[in-house]
């Protein structure tokens, strides 16, 4: 209480200069908002409004006979127990556990090799590993669809050797084939993120390590990897989000393997099928919302677990 009075008195005493300062501050504030408005408008129009709209949609159920009825959280309850949706989420969780560590390990390895300065033509190699990321996902999936297919090089080779051709898109193999495509496409991107983090490590650390007699592997293990930890966590979280939103690759391979990759293969594909094949836009909106919540939870768990490990040190 006394503090407030003191503050008020002080404010009263310094009234004149304060007003001028307020004016410049207000001008600056207005300018700041003016700069932010274009973003804010797009953000509202392209993200917030569609989000609110699909949230609104998800509270209804539309039927071909009977039309639109309000069902409250009915769609959410249905989705939480929908075996097709849950199977898709579990499939992606498995994908996450298998594919993401492999991809990030490869990215880290390539980044360390590039950073070691022991490679010839490092720029060429860097570009070579990065290029798949620049290939549009649609083109990549079509290309792999051909490579995996009946007239692709692997089958042709098998045919030539008169051994049974491998079925890359069978019930047991399709998921791994998709993992391969995603890894191929994203190793370069993650490598660049980790590599640029490596470049910002102060070189004095390396000199000190050398003085202490540490070899290249020891330097990598004890200095480089701990130093780029935030970058690795960042790529891990991006990968979590990317995995649960997997859509392009399965959607395009669906035409080649329609009986394996069904409309509910990934949660995102399921939402798409619901909306555009089954005319259940409202249920699709609810499924999308639950998927978003799943992604938030898993991302948070990943972040939390790495933080806890950090604190434990």
């Amino acid at each position: 209480m006394s503090e407030t009075i003191a503050a008020t008195t002080a404010a009263r005493n310094a009234k004149a200069p304060r007003r001028r300062r307020n004016e410049t501050k207000r001008k600056q504030t207005i300018a700041a908002y003016a700069f932010v408005i274009p973003f804010l408008l797009l953000f509202l129009l392209m993200l917030v409004v569609p989000l609110v709209y699909s949230g609104y949609l998800s509270l209804f159920r539309s039927q071909l006979i009977g039309g639109l009825t309000f069902v409250g959280l009915g769609n959410f309850i249905q989705a939480a127990t929908d075996p097709l949706f849950l199977a898709g989420v579990l499939r992606m969780a498995f994908f996450l556990v298998v594919q993401v560590p492999i991809m990030l390990a490869l990215s880290l390895l390539f980044a360390l090799l590039l950073d070691s300065g022991r490679l010839r033509f490092p720029r060429l190699i860097r570009l070579g590993i990065f290029i798949p990321y620049a290939v549009p996902g649609v083109v990549a999936a079509l290309m792999w669809g051909y490579l995996y297919g009946d007239f692709g090089p692997f089958s042709q080779l098998a045919h030539f050797l008169t051994i049974p051709a491998p079925n890359f898109l069978g019930a047991g193999t399709a998921l791994y084939s998709i993992m391969n495509i995603v890894t191929w496409g994203w190793v370069g991107y993650n490598m660049i993120v980790i590599y640029s983090a490596l470049r910002s490590i102060p070189t004095e650390l390396y000199d000190a390590a050398e003085m202490d007699g540490a070899g290249a592997i020891r330097v990598a293990w004890s200095i480089k990897i701990p130093a780029v930890r935030p970058a690795i966590i960042l790529t891990a979280i991006f990968s979590v989000i990317g995995t649960f939103q997997l859509f392009n690759e399965p959607k395009l391979l669906q035409s080649v393997a329609p009986n394996v990759i069904d409309g509910a293969y990934t949660p995102n594909l399921y939402a798409y099928t619901l909306a555009f094949t089954d005319h259940e836009v409202n249920y699709a909106a609810a499924v999308s919302f639950i998927l978003g919540i799943v992604i938030m939870i898993v991302s948070y768990v990943v972040q939390l677990s790495t933080q806890r490990r950090e604190r434990a040190k």
């Binding site: 509202l44 071909l64 297919g149 080649v256």
Partner: protein
């Protein structure tokens, strides 16, 4: 953050929600296309002499030349042709325009299988009062059946897809096999072809194409679906006839004599071009399509009727084809209706469709027109392929209905019967039962009353 932006954000939010609520309330207010009393000849003449512009959505390439014939005959009516390309996105656009309440065309091309879904939402105008019944006699019965629903007529047939068999005469000859006349002969031939070269199959029955498989159902005399407006749908995939067809293919697939590769994929095209498949169960739009896909094998292909269940029969089915329909939201119903009738029954326009755009004709006049039926194709060794398919078309009898949600029917085929086919043909019986169950389940969830006769 100051006070102003928070309030602003709240206002924006409220506005957004309010507008969404409004949008939600304003569901399509288009009136039903129910029966109106017949329009008099005088009214038609008057309307056709009143300047009007109608919009026509289609995916037929270069259709302007046929539209020009209409504009020449009715100079007061302008037709604005919008070509949107074929595929699922076409219907998404059409449905969006209809539910938006503006921007929908007056006339739209719609596949026969998709007519019921627009009929269900009452977005199609019944053309019977506009003189459509008068042109009925000019069309083949099999095509007309697909647009008529009771006394109502929901479109004028534009093209059709009777099924035939396109086969490699050189491969069959090399394996000492005659062109199969019955399915029994076909099974023996399949065995021989595959035994002679294990990388070859007499045909491919795609595990990804429910629509093509339903064509085989139709040929065998099954009519699994019917919908005549209202709340009731009939779904009977699991009939005795359906089981007969499934059992037949199950045996061949289990023997390994027939492949089940998904169609319209890169490796399927190569399979047709490389001789992996020695025949293709194709609709009437297939022959021209195949010429482009397997150009290197020109001269080796022939067209024939489908093999028959009973020797001496001439049964077939229809896969694909479309009609031109008038949307109930049109402001120029008479001009639109007359346009659909002219475009698809005028002698010159229908002949041009058949010979320029290779649409398989639906009118008796064009089917028997020598300019169409006598065409010889070097790809088929000089055979008059059109005559073969015209013959098939004239012998198709019986009804074959569609449900108002065929996309879902085809989609669930892939995960049920198609899946069993892809897994080596075992359990196809159960696959058929699953397909039936999946379609029934969907129909019930959508509020339909389901009968299974």
């Amino acid at each position: 953050m100051g006070k102003f932006p928070k309030r602003a954000a709240m206002t924006l939010g409220t506005v957004a929600i309010a507008s969404l609520l409004l949008a939600g309330c304003a569901t399509s207010g288009t009136s039903a296309g129910g029966t109106t009393s017949a329009v008099s000849k005088a009214d038609i003449t008057k309307a056709m002499n009143t300047p009007a512009t109608i919009t026509f959505w289609t995916w037929v390439p270069k259709i302007q030349s046929e539209v020009n014939l209409f504009e020449k005959k009715y100079p007061k009516i302008k037709v604005n042709v919008v070509n949107l390309g074929q595929g699922a996105t076409y219907y998404t656009k059409l449905e969006s325009a209809i539910s938006a309440g503006s921007g929908a065309p007056d006339v739209a091309q719609v596949e026969y299988t998709h007519l019921p879904s627009f009929e269900l939402s009452k977005n199609l105008k019944d053309l019977a009062p506009y003189g459509a019944a008068d042109v009925k006699s000019q069309f083949s019965a099999s095509a007309w059946n697909l647009v008529a629903s009771g006394n109502a007529i929901y479109g004028i047939p534009q093209d059709s897809g009777p099924l035939g068999l396109l086969y490699r005469t050189d491969i069959l000859k090399a394996d000492g096999v005659a062109a199969p006349q019955t399915w029994a002969e076909f099974a023996t031939a399949a065995d021989k072809v595959h035994a002679a070269d294990p990388s070859q199959y007499l045909t491919d029955i795609p595990s990804s194409n429910g629509s093509a498989f339903l064509g085989l159902f139709q040929q065998a005399g099954a009519n699994p679906f019917s919908y005549t407006g209202g709340k009731t749908v009939n779904i009977n995939l699991n009939s005795a006839t359906g089981k007969k067809v499934v059992d037949y293919w199950s045996t061949l697939i289990q023997k390994g004599d027939i492949s089940t590769d998904p169609d319209f994929t890169d490796s399927w095209y190569q399979g047709l071009a490389s001789g992996k498949y020695a025949s293709w169960v194709a609709a009437a739009w297939g022959p021209v399509f195949l010429q482009g896909t397997a150009a290197k094998t020109s001269g080796n292909w022939r067209a024939a009727e489908l093999p028959q269940w009973t020797a001496g029969d001439h049964a077939s089915g229809i896969v694909g084809g479309s009609a031109d329909s008038v949307l109930s939201s049109t402001k120029h119903p008479i001009a639109s209706a007359v346009f659909t009738q002219f475009l698809n029954s005028d002698k010159q326009a229908t002949l041009d469709f058949a010979t320029q755009q290779f649409l398989f004709p639906t009118t008796a006049a064009t089917l028997s027109n020598s300019e169409f039926s006598d065409q010889k194709s070097p790809f088929y060794g000089g055979q008059q392929v059109n005559k073969v398919f015209a013959g098939i078309s004239s012998k198709i009898t019986g009804q074959f209905g569609s449900l108002p949600f065929m996309d879902q029917v085809y989609d669930s085929f892939n995960t049920t019967l198609g899946k069993a086919m892809a897994n080596g043909g075992t359990g196809m019986d159960a696959g058929l039962a699953d397909w039936q169950a999946a379609v029934v389940k969907y129909a019930k969830a959508q509020g339909f009353t389901v009968t299974t006769n």
